[in-house]
């Protein structure tokens, strides 16, 4: 077979049957990989299945933590982005310092530090709440930069137009900046939300019984690594892929030329 068949160029798109073939090949690759991994593991699956309630509870907690952190970090990230643009120097510098410190250090280190050092010091012992707060604080730093670039993508001539027609600062944000910034930040926003869900797995290190932690528990009770971790991967994909699909949908819906 000639490999050049698989080229797909704007001026010479691949024929339909080549596209179908590509999908079939990828499916075969995936199936091959799975059957190699899964060979002779039926009995282990039975053992793991008896723990499905643990998986389920962990998955639900991951969803809960992610949703809470998603909401909290969106609000916090937006406030940070506005602070980052403030004309009040102290506020702007503080926001900048926060953003750079949190983006510059590993999440794992932040989790260990805030739980074992800060939370311990102030006697804060609500583990799920701490998890949400740490994750939100981390994600907000990234969201702030995403929001800021979205806000700044609205050109200065439009801002002057807004002033010329008499809009106040708040009105300018509401009617001119946010509607346009929203469209511009959708793709990176969806990416960041997907990251947040994945990053929540790191909270397992402080013993929060979310999805990853649950899988580790099942693994240590059943000694069946593959059967514990394969559902884990699927469980995360089940959450992240729809977000990415939704963002593509919205992107198309809000698309207009500038």
């Amino acid at each position: 077979m000639n490999a050049s068949l698989f080229f797909d160029r704007p001026n010479a798109p691949a024929p339909r049957w080549v596209r179908v073939l590509t999908v079939v090949l990828l499916a075969a690759l995936l199936a091959g990989g799975c059957s190699w991994l899964l060979a002779g593991s039926i009995s282990n699956w039975r053992a793991v299945w008896s723990y499905h309630e643990v998986f389920w509870q962990g998955w639900l907690l991951t969803i809960r933590i992610s949703l809470e952190a998603l909401a909290l970090s969106s609000v916090f990230g937006l406030l940070l982005a506005l602070a980052r643009r403030s004309t009040f120097l102290l506020l702007r510098s503080l926001a900048m310092l926060y953003i750079e410190l949190l983006r510059g250090s590993p999440l794992l280190v932040q989790i260990l530090f805030f739980w074992y050092v800060v939370a311990a010091k102030i006697d804060f012992d609500n583990l799920p709440a701490a998890g949400v707060l740490i994750l939100s604080g981390f994600s907000a730093a990234y969201l702030a930069e995403i929001f800021r670039s979205g806000i700044e993508s609205v050109g200065s001539s439009q801002l002057e137009s807004a002033r010329a027609i008499g809009l106040s600062r708040v009105q300018t944000y509401r009617f001119v900046i946010f509607p346009q910034a929203f469209r511009n930040v959708l793709p990176p926003l969806a990416g960041q939300f997907a990251s947040l869900i994945k990053d929540s797995s790191l909270l397992s290190v402080i013993g929060l019984s979310e999805f990853t932690h649950s899988a580790q528990q099942v693994n240590s009770s059943t000694y069946s690594t593959l059967e514990s971790y394969l559902p884990l991967g699927f469980g995360y994909l089940l959450l992240t892929l729809p977000i990415i699909a939704l963002s593509r949908l919205l992107e198309r819906r809000f698309h207009y030329e500038t």
Partner: protein, 243 residues
């Protein structure tokens, strides 16, 4: 209308644009600012619009000084219709929504009254069929006419226009100039920066020549165009009228 500049100075960084500029200009309907590019026409218009504050000095319109705090300036701008050089419509809003925004958000008109007013202006400008198009779907001339419609719809006391035709081809330029001539005939006062000398000559009742941050000459158009008194104005006219 009477426009007075009293000792107005403005600098951008280290560049002094206006230094202690004083002038008194009286005009009935249309004041046209002409002059070489970089001379300060746009800056002067922005000062008049209260979009940038002078470093010192005051500007008086019909005897009352422009306010100097942003809240009062915003109120002042709601009585002005401002149209810039570049297209200044919001790309995410349709032509109609662009016109509605100042009417509803700034003047506080109800949506139905605002829509009625906006549609009547669009209708008059021959733009009714384009009311629901976004800016990217409009031609340059249509864009600029929508921008003027937005400025006119607020029923301003004064229209400020900065080279509204500079980005347009001749046919579209004529489209926009026709509209401006019509507005002038209605008696709506306007201050216009333009390089369209023929139009200035026909429409203005006062022409001011701005160059190097100075207002070198201000006269009725007939005498300005036939016998400019300042040598720089004469040079400028020779250059732009040569072809």
């Amino acid at each position: 209308m009477k426009l007075e500049l009293r000792g107005v100075s403005k600098r951008f960084g280290r560049q002094q644009i206006f230094e202690n500029l004083s002038a008194s200009l009286e005009f009935q309907h249309a004041l046209v600012l002409v002059g070489p590019s970089g001379g300060g026409k746009s800056t002067l218009l922005r000062l008049l619009a209260g979009l940038i504050p002078p470093d010192s000095g005051t500007i008086h319109l019909d005897g009352s000084p422009l306010p100097n705090d942003e809240a009062a300036l915003r109120a002042y701008r709601t009585h002005l219709g401002i149209v810039f050089q570049a297209y200044n419509l919001f790309p995410h809003l349709s032509a109609l929504e662009n016109i509605l925004l100042p009417l509803t958000a700034v003047l506080g008109l109800s949506r139905s009254i605002a829509t009625e007013r906006a549609m009547s202006v669009l209708d008059r400008f021959g733009l009714a069929d384009h009311a629901h198009k976004r800016p990217h779907a409009l031609s340059g001339g249509q864009l600029q006419r929508v921008a003027i419609a937005r400025a006119v719809a607020i029923q301003p006391k004064l229209l400020l226009l900065d080279e509204p035709t500079s980005a347009l081809d001749p046919e579209m330029t004529a489209e926009v100039l026709d509209l401006l001539a019509e507005l002038r005939d209605e008696g709506r006062p306007l201050i216009l920066v333009t390089h369209e000398m023929g139009f200035a000559r026909h429409t203005a009742d006062m022409v001011a020549f701005v160059s190097g941050g100075k207002l070198l000459e201000a006269r009725a158009p007939e005498s300005f165009f036939s016998s400019p008194s300042h040598p720089e104005a004469r040079q400028f006219l020779e250059r732009v009228l040569r072809y």
